[in-house]
């Protein structure tokens, strides 16, 4: 264990820690912002399914090119995630199954295929595939500068898209029927929202892994939502909370021995979410209980007067 001062010093001057923290921050900002739309559209678990669906894409990208360059693997992950999303929509549209079941089908089947490919590669004599299984739990420690730059670029592009289509996305989230009938949100915009989730997943896989990606998209939003009712504020807050949790998790995993980065990020994110749920001034559970208690102590007449107001 190192002291806090040492950690802060390393955070700025140590290349490895700085890279990891930066990578985690980029991931946190992009998944917080992009996850907001998924959560508001009641598609919180979409990220979970698409993250699992990306695994065979990563394996196939490596098998096809023999390269483990981040860009190659990200393209593989993105294509497979997209395909998964497409299948999901098709299942919901053409069968009597719910989105819920369709998510599970895509998640489990794609992931099973990914495991099959991983195992096939592990039994090959060449050791080049080593490290692909790091996508299961993520390995922030393996992040390098170029990779962080690529993810930062991708994240910035996605957030730029959010800013450009802010009005349309907002209407789509809160009143999809109105958005469709007025032509504000044509079919491609819904595809765009799903694509943004795919981008967030692609950014996050390397760091937090397939399994924990769900929380990366949902956690910051659940936390941010407690503090504001305004979409713009929630978006900024979700990005900030995601980044905060990312950096905290990265630092904790370096400071404490044998704590993998992915789970560390998710656990600090959970703390952020729990604190927000419990203590956020207006919507928090504790302030609410305090208010009720106070109200219970005042005379009923006053309560009625307040209710009438």
């Amino acid at each position: 264990m190192s002291t806090v001062a040492e950690l802060l010093h390393d955070l700025v001057f140590d290349y490895t820690l700085r890279t990891i923290a930066l990578g985690a921050a980029v991931l946190g900002v992009s998944s917080g912002v992009l996850g907001t739309f998924a959560v508001l559209r009641r598609q919180s678990l979409l990220g979970d399914a698409l993250a699992h669906a990306a695994l065979p894409g990563i394996c196939l990208a490596y098998m096809a090119t023999g390269s483990k360059a981040p860009v190659v693997l990200m393209v593989g992950a993105g294509v497979a995630g997209w395909l998964g999303a497409l299948l999901l929509l098709k299942i919901v549209a053409t069968t009597s199954l719910d989105e819920d079941a369709a998510l599970g089908i895509v998640l489990a089947s794609f992931f099973g295929f990914g495991i099959v490919l991983l195992t096939v590669m592990q039994k090959r004599p060449d050791a080049g595939q080593a490290g692909l299984d790091k996508f299961l739990f993520g390995q922030a420690a393996a992040l390098v500068g170029t990779q962080v730059a690529v993810t930062a670029l991708l994240g910035t592009a996605a957030i730029a898209v959010v800013i450009v289509f802010y009005k349309e996305l907002k209407v789509l989230c809160f009143d999809p029927t109105f958005a469709r009938t007025t032509g504000l949100a044509p079919r491609w915009l819904e595809v765009l929202v799903t694509s943004l989730v795919v981008v967030a997943v692609v950014i996050g896989l390397q760091t937090v892994g397939v399994v924990l990606m769900a929380s990366m998209l949902v956690g910051p939003v659940v936390a941010a939502r407690q503090w504001s009712d305004r979409l713009a504020v929630v978006l900024v807050l979700a990005g900030a909370i995601g980044a905060g949790a990312g950096v905290t998790g990265a630092v904790v995993s370096v400071a404490a021995e044998r704590v993998p980065t992915g789970p560390a990020i998710i656990l600090s994110l959970t703390v952020f979410a729990l604190v927000s749920i419990l203590f956020a001034p207006r919507r928090g559970v504790v302030p609410d209980a305090v208010r009720r208690r106070r109200r219970g102590l005042v005379a009923p007449v006053e309560v009625e007067a307040e209710a009438a107001r």
């Binding site: 959560v39 009641r42 598609q43 919180s44 678990l45 990220g47 979970d48 699992h52 299942i91 053409t94 069968t95 009597s96 199954l97 719910d98 819920d100 079941a101 369709a102 998510l103 599970g104 089908i105 998640l107 489990a108 089947s109 794609f110 992931f111 099973g112 295929f113 990914g114 495991i115 099959v116 991983l118 195992t119 096939v120 039994k123 299984d133 299961l136 739990f137 399994v211 924990l212 769900a214 929380s215 998209l217 949902v218 956690g219 659940v222 939502r225 407690q226 044998r258 704590v259 993998p260 992915g262 789970p263 560390a264 998710i266 656990l267 959970t270 979410a273 749920i277 919507r283 559970v285």
Partner: protein
């Protein structure tokens, strides 16, 4: 018992156990709850092993059920409070517990009894090695017994609570009114799912358990609308996935658990394409058939309208259909062939004549 047979039997047992419960999860729109539970039990398993000082089945099961119920309760509480939507609550809760479990394992159990990757896809490959001995007697591979026990227990549960499960699944309001307590049924179902997930966990891992819970049940739903048949089919599809997956894995020398999940996915895909009523291909073919039949009726109407009029010689020819009905040549020929096959029209070179039967159809 050969190692291969042990793997197949373990997989099939777990698949049946998951399949009978999965039916109700899919119908209640709780498929992703199975995913969440399969992951959330991890810290409970670890805590159980830790308390029991080793991989004890009973301690692991109890810990897992406790963790699962804790998560379900937490999600329920959050959803009820109106602060967080149900799916978002699930999305926060289960990764948190899973992350906690992973940290506990890497810190305290590293490489001993639990391995991080095995959490996700299990180690069914070792099913035959884990022999159960009771008082010097060798009873065979333990995972096989666990799988069979879970399958039996869940089948018994579903049979015993069939009425309650059915009513509370399709009409919770009615269930509450007639005193069948949907909440109690829900808790029973969640407990059974947690037990099954925990038992399946060491054999097939978290994700394959999800596959067995959801995919065979969803496949069964494409074949039938009747609940008892769906339960049976779900179990059968699960067991078939286990057998097929094992066979394929041996051939390709790859992960047995992953191949079983793939097989379940393939069975779903095939059913989605070809199931008699819900399949895409039968539905497309029926649509094409109806289209052709309707066109043949249109032809009969067309012919009857012009029969006996001065324009008959011109209107009632094959080549004229393109102009009048906007049919291209291939389609027109196909429609005429269909009308002739049905005995609604006769073809005499270029000339077409409506028959008595054709008049009947046209007049309808």
């Amino acid at each position: 018992m050969s190692y291969g047979l042990a793997m197949v039997l373990t997989g099939a047992g777990v698949a049946v156990a998951c399949g009978v419960l999965g039916t109700f999860l899919v119908l209640r729109r709780m498929a992703m709850v199975a995913d969440a539970i399969s992951h959330a039990i991890l810290p409970g398993l670890v805590a159980g092993y830790w308390l029991a000082n080793g991989p004890s089945l009973a301690a692991g099961l109890l810990g897992a059920v406790a963790a699962a119920l804790l998560m379900v309760g937490f999600v329920e509480l959050l959803t009820r409070s109106g602060l967080v939507a149900g799916d978002a609550a699930i999305g926060v809760a289960f990764p948190a517990l899973f992350a906690l479990g992973t940290v506990l394992i890497t810190r305290h159990f590293s490489g001993v009894h639990l391995d991080a990757d095995a959490i996700l896809y299990g180690n069914i490959e070792f099913a035959g090695l884990d022999v159960w001995r009771v008082g010097g007697r060798v009873l065979g591979p333990r995972p096989v017994w666990v799988g069979a026990g879970l399958a039996l227990a869940n089948t018994a549960l579903v049979v015993a609570l069939f009425k309650e499960l059915k009513v509370s699944t399709f009409d919770p309001g009615l269930a509450a009114t007639v005193g069948l307590s949907p909440a109690a049924v829900q808790i029973a179902l969640m407990t059974a799912v947690a037990f099954t997930a925990a038992g399946a966990f060491s054999a097939v891992g978290a994700v394959l358990a999800v596959s067995f819970f959801i995919v065979p049940a969803a496949t069964a739903y494409l074949w039938t609308d009747r609940l008892p048949r769906m339960v049976a089919l779900s179990a059968a599809f699960g067991a078939a996935s286990a057998v097929l997956g094992f066979t394929a894995a041996v051939r390709a020398d790859t992960s047995v658990a992953g191949a079983m999940a793939c097989a379940a996915g393939v069975l779903f895909g095939l059913s989605w394409l070809f199931a008699p009523k819900a399949g895409l291909v039968p539905r497309a073919r029926q649509l094409a058939r109806q289209r052709l039949e309707f066109a043949a009726e249109t032809l009969a109407v067309h012919l009857m309208t012009h029969t006996g009029t001065p324009a008959e010689a011109e209107e009632c020819t094959l080549s004229h259909l393109g102009e009048h009905l906007r049919w291209n040549d291939t389609w027109a020929t196909a429609v005429v062939a269909e009308a002739v096959r049905r005995g609604w029209a006769v073809r005499d070179g270029e000339r077409l004549r409506v028959t008595e039967a054709g008049r009947g159809v046209a007049a309808m």
